[in-house]
Symmetry: C2
Subunit: 183 residues, 2 copies
DNA sequence: AATCACATGTAAGGTGTTACATGATTAA
DNA sequence: TTAATCATGTAACACCTTACATGTGATT
């Protein structure tokens, strides 16, 4: 039966900032929530239709932007108040490193270098994002900054981990280097 | 068409450590890989069946433990060498904090306290795990330690972030505190 | 004898991803 | 007028989760 979908939360949340088209909801989720949330775009219109049917969303006529109703705001608050669903972890990089003996030290090294580059890229993105958001200064700003800060902390941790692990890797490899594909 | 499943990697990887029953594979994934990987247990037996059919896995008779064939080892290495699939992020806590203005400062505070407690719990678990793994000293140990280290770094980052954000939260709340449910 | 853990599965049904289909509007 | 972007969807299908079904072996 699978976990309950949280697509509604993301869609209602996006519309709580401002009325917008489905297309704009999709872009907001990609560009604004993108660092910690993602949606299948194929789900957005069906979700909007369902929300409209239940009276949480209505369409204003011109250019048909979707708009939250009063019930929609209440519904959003209700959903936000539910305990967050923990998504089961599924980290492909860790899965590979864990079986690093099978994968080989060189490939592990490459994975760690890529993780490091990823973390650095993210840090730069978050710095730019933080500057942009802090400049706005709206009522949602403090909350945006909290999520950006989480990204910064996580990326810094990933960077430190990757560097530390790269330094630790060679110690384990001298014996294996001789027999890369050997059984 | 959805991303390619990596269930095979986890199952083949588990069997690469030692032949074992499907039941044991399931426990290994839960208890050993659990910090960074998870599987639907309903997938494990069908996956094993598929692997057996393609000759990557065979059954030894007694107590029917599943065992990797030579092709199975090769297949595992092949899969490990593929670029890791990034799972789209879906962080329910961040989603709630981002819309914290709708959720209210008190609930945000509760989320952060819970995140902090989670991080502390994880740090304790990782410390115990690290001690246990380091004691073994097998050929897979250095790779296990790398993944555990990632967990430690991440948990420490989460802890620091939660504490920092808890301290930052009150500054944003004095005006909202007067009108908790008001529209 | 009953209970619990081990062991191997199956079934139902929601969820999510990707790719495609279709039209309106704007820009070069 | 061709192309690109905006805009609203639909369809196919793989994936995943949960719950159930069934039997064995050991322990109390």
């Amino acid at each position: 039966m699978a976990r309950r979908s949280q697509t509604e939360v993301a869609v209602l949340g996006a519309l709580s900032v401002a009325p917008m088209t489905g297309y704009a909801v999709r872009e907001a989720i990609r560009d604004v929530l993108g660092h910690f949330w993602s949606e299948s775009f194929g789900q957005i219109y069906p979700t909007l239709a369902g929300l409209e049917e239940r009276g949480y969303v209505r369409r204003a006529d011109r250019a048909a932007p979707f708009e939250l109703t009063g019930e929609g705001v209440a519904r959003l608050r209700e959903l936000l108040a539910e305990p967050p669903q923990r998504v089961p972890p599924r980290n492909g990089v860790m899965l590979r490193l864990f079986f690093g003996r099978q994968l080989g030290p060189e490939a592990c090294r490459a994975l760690l270098l890529e993780a490091k580059a990823d973390a650095e890229r993210q840090l730069a993105e978050f710095a730019a994002l933080r500057a942009a958001v802090a400049g706005e200064g709206g009522p949602d700003t403090p909350y945006s900054l909290i999520t950006i800060s989480a990204g910064v902390h996580t990326a810094r941790a990933a960077l430190a981990w990757a560097e530390e692990s790269l330094a630790a890797l060679p110690e384990a490899t001298p014996s294996e280097l001789e027999q890369p594909g050997a059984d």
